[in-house]
């Protein structure tokens, strides 16, 4: 089971270490993590995606809640949440037609093209992890040179 956790934490040194160290020491996995400051500069928000069975996810939430530097821990329902990830792909261009093809795919996915060179193209895509995987499959035949992903940012919809 996949879970998105939104964790409001004290914005001070060492908190990211404590949170990730808890995952490590209790044998849980972090699938992706993104951290940034919030509307209140005293707090940061961590968005962590993780895998586990129901019991494990509940334990993760409780262990996070127990930490003194966490203010609020929410397990987000993906159907009531807007969640996106940004990814940069550097894709190999072997022949002129590749470039056109990649541009077409990028357009279809609402991705932006940067740094188009003779031998490679960089594409920026902001989407859900599923859409990113689908796009990745489509461009794989061209040859993916490098990937950088940010991890998910997520917020619950108002009234949800």
């Amino acid at each position: 089971m996949w879970a998105i956790l939104s964790i409001l934490v004290e914005n001070k040194p060492g908190v990211l270490f404590k949170v990730t160290n808890m995952f490590r020491s209790r044998n849980f996995n972090i699938d992706s993590i993104s951290v940034g400051i919030t509307e209140n500069p005293e707090y940061s928000r961590m968005t962590i995606t993780t895998y586990g069975d129901e019991k494990q996810i509940q334990q993760i939430v409780k262990q996070l809640d127990k930490m003194i530097d966490t203010i609020e821990v929410k397990r987000l329902d993906e159907h009531k949440t807007v969640y996106r990830e940004l990814v940069l792909f550097k894709i190999k261009v072997s022949k002129a037609a590749d470039s056109m093809e990649i541009n077409k795919l990028a357009n279809a996915y609402g991705a932006k093209v940067h740094d188009a060179k003779k031998e490679s193209i960089m594409v920026e895509l902001t989407a859900t992890p599923d859409q990113i995987s689908a796009f990745e499959e489509l461009i794989r035949p061209f040859g993916i040179l490098e990937i950088a992903r940010t991890g998910i940012a997520a917020l619950q919809r108002t009234g949800a």
């Binding site: 934490v9 004290e10 404590k18 127990k66 003194i68």
Partner: protein, 559 residues
């Protein structure tokens, strides 16, 4: 005022009268202020012992014990002590010196990243970067260490932060946004728990360390007596309930009492109070919860469902939860039936095992020497243990009569804990006799605390169950490794009577039960520590024994 002065003032405001420690370069400013303060310093010979003393002090007084260590190796030497206290939810404050702020991260002399190193084994760690932060940090430290589920707190103070001057404000209260140590027990859940207990045919109470930490002794006894439910304990909960009570069955687990393990397995509903269902207590998680309704009371919500599936959970301080339960029970007309089939069975099983459990032959068998200790020792005396065979024999054969007088490193299982913890306990309660039930292997690890005991006038008795071997490991090698004995023989070294005497303590060798009784009495009267060396048969095993990874019902019994 300087950061170091503020530290002492803040400790005094918390009511600290003693600290256990060892000075070094990076904590000299605080020692200089300690010199000027009213706080007594108790010098140790190794920082690990300072931490265990603070831990022992904290468990007995239920107020955080305090230890001091310098930076670098001083700080790393207390890590085992922090982990031990944290694993057993013992309130403790460790104050370490650190290299000056500007030197941090430059691999300075005696620099260790103790904040990073200690992270998984503390409840919280502080590193004030400005002298002015110290009063609030200390206040928060005690608040975190002593409330909710207690634990170990580290305060790491860079040397310049100790020396710098600042305007100090000493808060009377602190609040921490992300820390909510208390939850009010839920009435509806408590009602459900009562329904479940009353409708059970074979109910049992499992009392854990939480009962001792919250001091819920009379509440536990009331519930057990009101509902006529037999009480087993975890090893950490040993002595939460008087072990001479008609409803007491003693500890369950790897070396639990035969009757306790047997009846725990038969029960259909358990009221588990302040326990985390450790693997050493329950055998296997899957087998333990089979056909068993579990009602779990605990102060820590993260313990609910961690190891066992819970049917009803009451989160909150267990003393408060039990009080609510008693109130709700008093509103009901409980019918006490005289023909309680379950209790009859419980009594039969218990009586059978108390009469028929075979004990090791010989005058100085573990059972006989521990029963002798019980016979001679006042029931209010405090007992600590080391870790190993003697510890499990204490669990089996030493009955705790006065609740909350038995302490052991149960979670981390730290060899060397018992003796310094006994000295810490004596510091907290100088009016009581304190005995460390020890094994030779464990005692070796912190035996230099004899110096502290003698020089600081903190006399305790070391009841040394001596088989000159690492007995528990030897037992596993005999049982699981076809007697391929390696690394367990201590080869009659050292002579413990001479060792004790060399520190100015009293050393007595007891070679009969009669001599043992006399030695204990001599120890109780002594102004210095007494080491009673009791040579036992190195082949004696601890039985019953539930092998690791097997269910309680498969316990190995003495043949």
């Amino acid at each position: 005022m300087s950061g170091a002065r503020a530290l002492m003032k803040a400790l005094e405001k918390e009511g600290v009268k003693e600290v256990f420690g060892l000075p070094g370069g990076a904590n000299l400013p605080m020692y200089d202020e300690l010199y000027k303060s009213n706080i007594r310093h108790i010098l140790v010979r190794h920082e690990q012992s300072a931490a265990h003393m603070a831990d022992g002090f904290g468990r007995v007084s239920r107020k955080a014990g305090v230890c001091f260590a310098t930076s670098g190796p001083g700080a790393t030497n207390i890590v085992t002590g922090l982990a031990t206290a944290q694993a057993d939810s013992s309130p403790m404050i460790a104050v370490t010196g650190q290299v000056p702020v500007k030197m941090i991260g430059r691999d300075a002399f005696q620099e260790s990243d103790i904040i990073g190193i200690s992270n998984p084994v503390v409840k919280y760690a502080f590193q004030p970067r400005e002298a002015g932060e110290i009063p609030e940090v200390v206040k928060k430290g005690f608040y975190i260490a002593e409330t909710g589920r207690p634990g170990a707190v580290l305060i790491d103070v860079p040397k310049d932060v100790q020396q710098n001057e600042a305007e100090m404000v000493f808060p009377d209260e602190v609040r921490i946004r992300g820390y909510h140590p208390w939850t009010d027990p839920d009435i509806v859940e408590t009602e459900r728990a009562i329904e479940m207990l009353l409708s059970a045919h074979k109910p049992i109470i499992l009392a854990g360390g939480g009962v001792i930490i919250s001091g819920a002794f009379s509440e536990l006894q009331s519930i057990a007596e009101m509902l006529m439910i037999p009480v087993v304990t975890t090893f950490k909960g040993k002595g939460a309930f008087p072990e001479n009570h008609a409803l007491s069955l003693g500890p369950i687990g790897m070396h639990g009492h035969a009757e306790a393990n047997k009846l725990m397995t038969e029960a259909d509903c358990v009221l588990a109070i302040g326990t985390r269902f450790s693997d050493r207590s329950v055998g296997t998680f899957e087998e333990f919860e089979k056909n068993l309704k579990i009602i779990h009371m605990d102060v820590d919500p993260a313990e609910i469902g961690k190891n066992q599936t819970t049917h009803v959970a009451v989160v909150g301080d267990v003393k408060a939860s039990l009080r609510i339960m008693i109130k709700l029970l008093m509103k009901r007309a409980l019918k006490k039936s005289d023909d309680n089939v379950w209790i009859k069975h419980v009594n039969e099983v218990r009586d059978y095992w108390r009469q028929n459990l075979k004990i090791h032959p010989g005058e100085l068998s573990a059972a006989r020497i521990l029963r002798k200790l019980r016979e001679v020792l006042p029931k209010e005396a405090i007992v600590t243990t080391e870790v190993g065979q003697h510890q499990m024999w204490a669990s089996l054969f030493f009955d705790v009569i006065h609740p909350g007088t038995f302490f052991s490193s149960t979670g981390l299982g730290t060899m060397g804990w018992g003796f310094p913890a006994a000295i810490g306990a004596k510091t907290a309660r100088p009016d009581l006799a304190v005995v460390d039930i020890a094994g030779d292997g464990s005692f070796n690890m912190t035996e230099n605390s004899l110096a502290t005991s003698v020089l600081e006038n903190l006399p305790v008795i070391v009841f040394l169950v001596n088989n000159y071997s690492l007995g528990m490991v030897a037992q596993w090698q005999r049982t699981f490794y076809e007697r391929r004995m390696i690394g367990v023989d201590q080869k009659n070294c050292p002579d413990y009577v001479k060792l004790a005497e060399s520190y100015g303590a009293q050393g007595i060798r007891a070679q009969s039960l009669d001599e043992l009784g006399k030695a204990i009495k001599a120890g109780l009267k002594s102004d210095v520590a007494t080491v009673i060396d009791i040579p036992i048969d190195p082949e004696e095993d601890v039985l019953p024994f539930v092998a690791p990874g097997t269910p309680l019902k498969d316990m190995i019994l003495p043949s």
